[in-house]
Each structure stands twice: as structure tokens, then as C-alpha cells.
């Protein structure tokens, strides 16, 4: 344990810019949900109606949690947000523990620390303590915003404790994963898999008789039934799991060599396949994993949206206030809902396009572009290779999102035509996505150091304008800067070619402008 205290202080220093954003993200999620739920269902009658409409909806239960939570308004908040905020907190813990243990070991940074007078277990101890402190902060903040928005104190303490507990479980799980795998990415993959399993198990359990939920840390948290029964003992289950996982991790740590894992990394190909012989082949190879992940993720999210499309009519009939949020009002409820969710999916999909384009900049700053550009590869071909993946990938991600939504909605209303229809709706946003991506390209060409910040500012701006224009009363001129404001909101509005063509041409022009900047500047710094 020698030196763990010093290490912890050093880790806190390294996290001082990143960690606050995670804490803020989790807190805001709970704050928004608590405010919104209490506004929408301010009377016991409203809550009773909600129980009736949601309680019987399998898709909603699978996405959220056990219906018993709907017995009180605080429970309703937990029902809606706990699973999602658990994912955020779990990821925070995964990165906190992973970054300071395996990632450092892999990069060789930890070797310096190890050669100083620091005990074998000090790093892991410090990293777990760091995660514990972060989870404590999450718990306190959640307690503060729930009590602050008027929810009962006892339930709020339990809510905060349960969420912090879920965080600690995933910190401990990461501690095991980083012993098993030799590289951080594989460890993250394993923890993400556990997280996915935790979500699916509780979904299956909540839809069924509840047994399977007991295999999931998220399930343990929800089954405290905070604000309803205020059960404390599920926290003991968490504590047992945490203790067991940490003990296993420490035992494995004592047994393995520095830098090694328990699983040897698999060997790959000795020669390149025919596909890996050009800049485009390389860009595809580098980005295909991310593309598949994004397409699958948005397909599932689309399916989740689509699966409740049919019940939205009944839901709005029960809660007329909700209709205000839908562009078509009460008249075209389903189409309005499908359009709004398709645009939300497209906004999320924009992140893929931007990440894919920024990949070019990442290759440049990491020095990996240098050997490529020292071959007979021109700057144009190199940039284009990443942009082709960004553009074609964006189309695929949007199509997958639309297909998921159309398929799920089509299944509930027995209409096979919904899938292609929603694919078309989603692809209508492709020019907008490309335009935002092209802004990233322009920045890479002319303001490379600011490119990442500029690109994400653009994404954030589009999201805020699209989703909150009405509630924040954003002035019209400010809204018109977003390409999404110029895309007809299908299926409510008809898709027309003119705006889409203009957006696409603009995107091409910006990308060309970005290349003009790239070809005349120094590369690699």
C-alpha cells in the first residue's frame, strides 16, 4: 500500500478537468427528470393514469424498470432515469479505474511509478479509492438535487446511495477486467459487455417475474424501491459483490507479472489481406469497429423509440400536456412522435460523422499519418479516405436508426411498409449530418488545433437548437444556422429535394475548403 496516498493525489489532479463533466452529466440527468416528472404528474390521479398506461407497456418496462416504482412520484423519477444514469455512472467508473491502472501500465507510464518506492497494490488501491470518492460525490449530488426539487429525504438518500453503489460495483468489475486483459481497450470491452448484460437482465427480469433482475447491479439499485418501500438491504448485496470482486482483483494482481494479463492477446494475420492496401482500406479498417457499434446502437435506440410509437396515442390522450412537445400537436401524434425521434436519432448519428472526420486529425497528431503520407499517398487521397468512411458510414448509421424505428413500429402495428418509410425519413437528415461533418473538415484544414472543439461546438449547437428551440425561446436567426432547421421534419412534412440538395452542396463546398487549407499547411503538429 506504500505510496497509495501520493498516487491518489496525483490521480485526482489528472482527473480535475474530466471528472467534473461526468458528475455534472449524471446530476443534470436526475435534475431534469425530477423536475419534468413532478411537472407532468403533479396529482395522484395523473400518476395513477400513468401507472395504467405505462404499467402494461412491455417496451417501456423493458427500457426503464419495475412498475412497482410508479407507486409514488419519487419512484417514478427513479423508474425513468435510474437505468440510464446508472450507465453513465458505470462508464465513469470504468474509465476512472481503467485509465489509472491498465492504460497506464500499457503505455509504460506506470513503470516509472512502479520503479519509485510504491507498493505492488498501491496503484489499484488508489484507483479504487478515486472511484469511491467519485461515487460518493455522485451520491451526494443526486441527494442534493432530488431533495432540492422537493422529493422526500429518506428516498433521496437511498437513491444517491444506490446509484453510488452501482458505480462501485462497476469500479470493482473494472478492477478485475484490467487484471485479466493485457490492454485497456479489451478490458473496457469486457466491462461494457457486463454493463450491457446488466441492462438486459434487468429488462428481462422487470418484464417477467423479477428473478433475472437480481442478477443485475442496476436491478439491485432499482429494487431498493426508493420513495416507495425504501428498502436498504439490496445495498448489502452490492457491498458483497464489491468486496468479492475487489478481493479477486487483488489476488490476481498478486499473481501476474507487471504489464501482463491473464489472457494472452490473440495473434493476428502475418500478411495483410487484399483489402488493406490503400488509404481507403486503412481508413475502413480503422473505423469499421466504431461504425458497426454506432449502427447497432442507433438501430437499438431506434427500435426502442419505434416500439412505443403505437402506445403514444393512448399516452398523450392520458397526458394532454405532452402533446405540446410534439410538433404535430394532438392531431398527428404518431407521425409527430416518429419525426421528432428520427431527428433525435439523426442528431446522435451526427456524432459518428464528426468522430470519423476528426479521425484524420487524430491520425495526424498521433504521428500515424506520417508514414502513410511518406508513401505515394497524396494529402487529398489521405483526407478523402477518412471522409468517404465518414459520409458512407453516416448514411449507414442513419439508415440503421430509421430501420430500427420503422421495424419496431411496423411490428406493433403490423405494417411492413414502416421500415422502408422510416429509413427514408432518417436518410433525409444525411445532408445535415454531412454539413456538420464538413464543418469539422473545414476546421481541420484551417484551424487544426481548434478542430475538435469547433466540431463539437457545432454538434452541441445543432442539438440545442433542434431539441430546445421552443422551450428556451431561441431567436429565429440563431436557429437558422443549424442545417437541421432546414430539413423538412418528415413524416409530418413532405421531404423536398431543394433544401437537401442545397445542404449537400454546401457540405461538399466546406469539405473542399477544408482540403484547400490542409494542402497548404504543415502536417503533424
Amino acid at each position: 500500500m506504500n505510496g497509495a496516498g501520493h498516487l491518489l493525489r496525483f490521480m485526482l489532479r489528472r482527473e480535475r478537468f474530466g471528472l467534473p463533466w461526468w458528475l455534472l452529466g449524471a446530476t443534470v440527468l436526475v435534475l431534469v427528470q425530477s423536475t419534468q416528472s413532478q411537472n407532468l404528474y403533479d396529482t395522484p390521479e395523473d400518476l395513477a393514469k400513468l401507472r395504467e398506461s405505462l404499467g402494461g407497456n412491455t417496451a417501456v418496462v423493458a427500457m426503464s424498470g419495475p412498475t412497482r416504482l410508479l407507486e409514488s412520484i419519487g419512484g417514478e423519477v427513479l423508474f425513468e432515469i435510474f437505468a440510464f444514469v446508472s450507465i453513465v455512472v458505470a462508464l465513469m467508473n470504468m474509465f476512472l479505474v481503467g485509465r489509472h491502472t491498465r492504460a497506464d501500465e500499457e503505455s509504460g507510464r506506470a513503470e516509472l511509478v512502479r520503479s519509485a518506492r510504491v507498493g505492488r497494490r498501491a496503484t489499484l488501491t488508489a484507483a479504487l479509492t478515486l472511484a469511491g470518492l467519485a461515487n460518493l460525490a455522485v451520491g451526494v449530488l443526486v441527494f442534493a438535487v432530488t431533495v432540492g426539487t422537493g422529493l422526500p429525504v429518506a428516498g433521496s438518500v437511498l437513491f444517491g446511495a444506490a446509484l453510488a453503489g452501482v458505480g462501485c460495483v462497476f469500479a470493482a468489475a473494472t478492477a478485475v477486467a484490467v487484471q485479466v486483459f493485457e490492454n485497456a481497450r479489451a478490458a473496457y470491452g469486457a466491462v461494457a459487455l457486463v454493463l450491457g448484460a446488466a441492462y438486459v437482465l434487468r429488462a428481462a427480469g422487470d418484464v417477467g417475474d423479477g428473478t433475472l433482475s437480481w442478477l443485475s447491479p442496476i436491478g439491485w439499485g432499482q429494487r431498493t424501491f426508493a420513495y416507495v418501500d425504501n428498502r436498504w438491504w439490496p445495498l448489502l448485496v452490492m457491498a458483497a459483490a464489491i468486496g468479492a470482486a475487489v478481493a479477486v482483483a487483488m489476488a490476481m494482481l498478486g499473481r501476474r507479472d507487471f504489464g501482463a494479463g491473464l489472457v494472452r492477446p490473440r495473434l493476428g494475420r502475418a500478411t495483410a489481406s487484399a483489402a488493406l492496401g490503400s488509404p481507403l482500406g486503412l481508413a475502413w479498417r480503422l473505423q469499421r469497429g466504431s461504425l458497426i457499434g454506432w449502427a447497432a446502437g442507433l438501430f437499438l435506440l431506434g427500435a426502442a423509440y419505434g416500439s412505443i410509437g403505437d402506445s403514444i396515442e393512448q399516452y398523450v390522450a392520458d397526458n394532454p400536456e405532452v402533446a405540446e412537445f410534439l410538433p404535430g400537436g394532438a392531431a398527428d401524434i404518431v407521425d409527430g412522435y416518429l419525426g421528432l425521434t428520427a431527428m433525435t436519432l439523426a442528431l446522435i448519428g451526427t456524432a459518428f460523422g464528426v468522430i470519423a472526420a476528426l479521425r484524420a486529425r487524430g491520425e495526424e497528431t498521433s504521428g500515424r499519418a506520417e508514414p502513410v503520407l511518406a508513401t505515394a499517398t497524396s494529402r487529398a487521397a489521405w483526407l478523402a479516405s477518412h471522409l468517404v468512411v465518414a459520409a458512407a458510414g453516416s448514411a449507414l448509421v442513419l439508415a440503421a436508426a430509421g430501420f430500427g424505428e420503422g421495424l419496431a413500429y411496423g411490428l406493433t402495428v403490423s405494417d411492413a411498409g414502416q421500415a422502408p418509410r422510416m429509413v427514408g425519413v432518417a436518410l433525409g437528415y444525411l445532408p445535415s449530418v454531412l454539413l456538420v461533418t464538413a464543418v469539422a473538415v473545414l476546421a481541420i484544414g484551417w484551424l487544426p488545433r481548434a478542430a475538435t472543439a469547433l466540431a463539437w461546438t457545432m454538434v452541441g449547437y445543432c442539438a440545442v437548437v433542434a431539441l430546445f428551440a421552443d422551450s428556451f425561446e431561441i431567436p429565429g436567426w440563431l436557429q437558422r444556422g443549424s442545417p437541421f432547421a432546414h430539413t423538412p421534419q418528415a413524416p409530418l412534412e413532405a421531404l423536398t429535394a431543394t433544401p437537401l440538395v442545397i445542404l449537400a452542396v454546401l457540405a461538399a463546398a466546406l469539405a473542399a475548403g477544408g482540403y484547400a487549407g490542409l494542402r497548404r499547411r504543415d502536417l503533424g503538429y
Binding site: A272, L276, P279, L282, R368, E370, P371, V372
Partner: protein, 303 residues
């Protein structure tokens, strides 16, 4: 195959700044075709910057740069078909194996010799099936070396290619470069390992703070340094300390040890001969000394 003027690289008065920091300040460099040219200088002296200008990755602020008869900035793609490059800091894609990287870079250059590739893998004892993230610095460097050496490029730009290799691999590397030289190809070898440069290079340029301070064949450069002499004579050695160009003299009746400036070697020998030389050993100057002479004062300044 080579440009008529016999120069693969010609740089005159090259200047390059990163923002306000001046990395190159009027650098001159001429590399003759078919030669191995050593490019020496301490860390931060501008070797990598020069090579990046040659690769067309950086644009020169001022000065004239020609490579293989073309302009490195304008004709980058055409020139790159004729050269191979090993970066000083080899960064590879973590999920791609070493073998795949070698093939990929080779194909993007315009093809590689598969037999030579496999031979080099064997030589450098490199497992091509490992993912790049699992390679050490030395092994990443080997990947870049195999990719470059397996090509038939007429010019090799090697930026401190052996800084991560162990002595055994260093020896393999030297054999490979000798082979490249026998094939009549040109090599620009940036290094701060003097033994390597002495073993391989026909000519050497020494740079410091972005400026060339010395350039020539090893023989020429040795003229600028001192030879160590140990001598025993029949008669007593008197009056040695007054001789011009003699330094660090240790005198003991019939024995003497001293360093002599190469330019004064002849005069000193004439002075010794009449005394009846019984034995004499002379040690030629090393680049090490040359280096120290040029950077000794810089270190003093740095302190």
C-alpha cells in the same frame, strides 16, 4: 536511375520555424547519390525537421531544397514512390499487426519484395502476427525498418532508426545498410550514435541549432581533430612541449604520450624521427571527439 548532377539531396540555406521557435536556421546539406550520408546532431538540433521538409510534410520558410531532381513540396507523391522512410518515433495502429503494417506501407508505396520482406523479418527476429499495441519501441522500429528495407527505393531516409534496437539488432541493421550501399542506393542516416555513423557513412554532416557546422568525408573531418600518439625513442625526448599543435603531453625521459592536431602531425613526426623511434602507436580521432568539440561548449552554455 540517379540525377545527373550526382546529388540525391541538395539543401541550401533551409530555414523553418514552429511558430516563434526557430528549428532550422540556414541549414545546408548535400547528399551524393549512391552514398550513405550521416546526419549527426544532438537532440533538438533539427534532424527530424529537415527530414520532414524533405518528405513534403513541412513547408520550408526559406532556402532551396531539391530531392531526386524534384521539389519535395510540389512533387511529393511522385518522389515518394522512389524513397522509403523510417520515422524516429514509430507510431502504429494498435489493432493492426506488424505484418499487415509492412504490407500496407509497401503497397501504398507501390509494391514490395515479398521474399526480401520475409528474409528481413527473420533477420530482425520480428513476429509479424502480433498486434502493434503489444510491440515495444524497438519492435515498432523494426516494423518500420523492414517496411523500408523491403522496398526497392533508390533513397532511404532513416531518422534515428536504431535508437530502440539492442546491439545484436544494431549489427543486423548495419549489414542491411551495407547491402543497400552495395546496390548503389542512397541513404540519409540521421543518428546520434557515432559508432554507427563511423561504421556506415561515406560522408557526414554535423548540425547544431538548425545549422550545419561541419560537413565532409570522415577523412576530411578527422583532419579537424587530434590523433593520440604514444612513442618511445632512443634519445631523451626534450623540447616536445614547445611544439605547435601538441596537447595533453605526458613526458617521461624516453616515453611520451600526447594528442596532436592532425594538421601538425607531419611536423611532429619529423621532429621525432631523428630521436630514434623505437615504438609508436597512434589512435585515429573518433567522431566522438569531433562531436564533443562541437557540443562541449554548447553544453557549457546550456548549464
Amino acid at each position: 536511375m540517379h540525377a545527373d548532377n550526382g546529388a540525391a539531396i541538395e539543401i541550401a540555406g533551409l530555414t523553418k520555424s514552429y511558430g516563434r521557435a526557430k528549428a532550422l536556421d540556414g541549414l545546408d546539406l548535400t547528399v551524393t547519390s549512391g552514398q550513405v550520408h550521416g546526419f549527426l546532431g544532438p537532440n533538438g538540433s533539427g534532424k527530424t525537421t529537415t527530414i520532414r521538409v524533405l518528405l513534403g510534410l513541412l513547408r520550408a520558410d526559406a532556402g532551396a531544397v531539391r530531392m531526386l531532381g524534384g521539389d519535395p513540396w510540389r512533387d511529393a507523391v511522385a518522389l515518394h514512390r522512389r524513397l522509403a522512410y523510417v520515422p524516429g518515433d514509430v507510431n502504429l495502429w494498435p489493432n493492426i499487426t506488424g505484418g499487415e503494417v509492412i504490407d500496407l506501407l509497401g503497397r501504398m508505396r507501390g509494391g514490395l519484395d515479398r521474399r526480401r520482406r520475409d528474409e528481413l523479418l527473420e533477420r530482425f527476429d520480428l513476429d509479424p502476427r502480433k498486434k502493434s499495441r503489444t510491440y515495444s519501441k524497438g519492435n515498432r522500429q523494426k516494423v518500420a525498418l523492414v517496411a523500408a528495407l523491403a522496398s526497392d527505393a533508390e533513397l532511404l531516409l532513416l531518422d534515428e532508426p536504431t535508437s530502440g534496437l539492442d546491439p545484436l539488432m544494431e549489427a543486423q541493421f548495419q549489414q542491411c545498410v551495407q547491402q543497400v550501399k552495395r546496390e548503389g542506393r542512397t541513404v540519409l542516416l540521421s543518428s546520434h550514435i557515432l559508432a554507427e555513423v563511423e561504421a556506415l557513412c561515406d560522408r557526414v554532416s554535423i548540425i547544431r541549432l538548425g545549422r550545419t557546422v561541419e560537413s565532409g568525408t570522415l577523412t576530411e573531418l578527422r583532419h579537424l581533430t587530434r590523433t593520440s600518439i604514444a612513442v618511445e625513442t632512443a634519445q631523451r625526448l626534450d623540447g616536445m612541449d614547445g611544439l605547435p599543435g601538441v596537447h595533453d603531453l605526458v613526458l617521461e625521459d624516453h616515453h611520451a604520450r600526447f594528442d596532436v592536431e592532425t594538421a601538425q602531425l607531419d611536423a611532429v613526426m619529423r621532429r621525432l624521427a631523428p630521436l630514434g623511434v623505437r615504438s609508436l602507436t597512434s589512435t585515429p580521432p573518433t567522431l566522438e571527439e569531433l562531436f564533443l568539440r562541437h557540443y562541449g561548449d554548447e553544453q557549457a552554455v546550456a548549464r
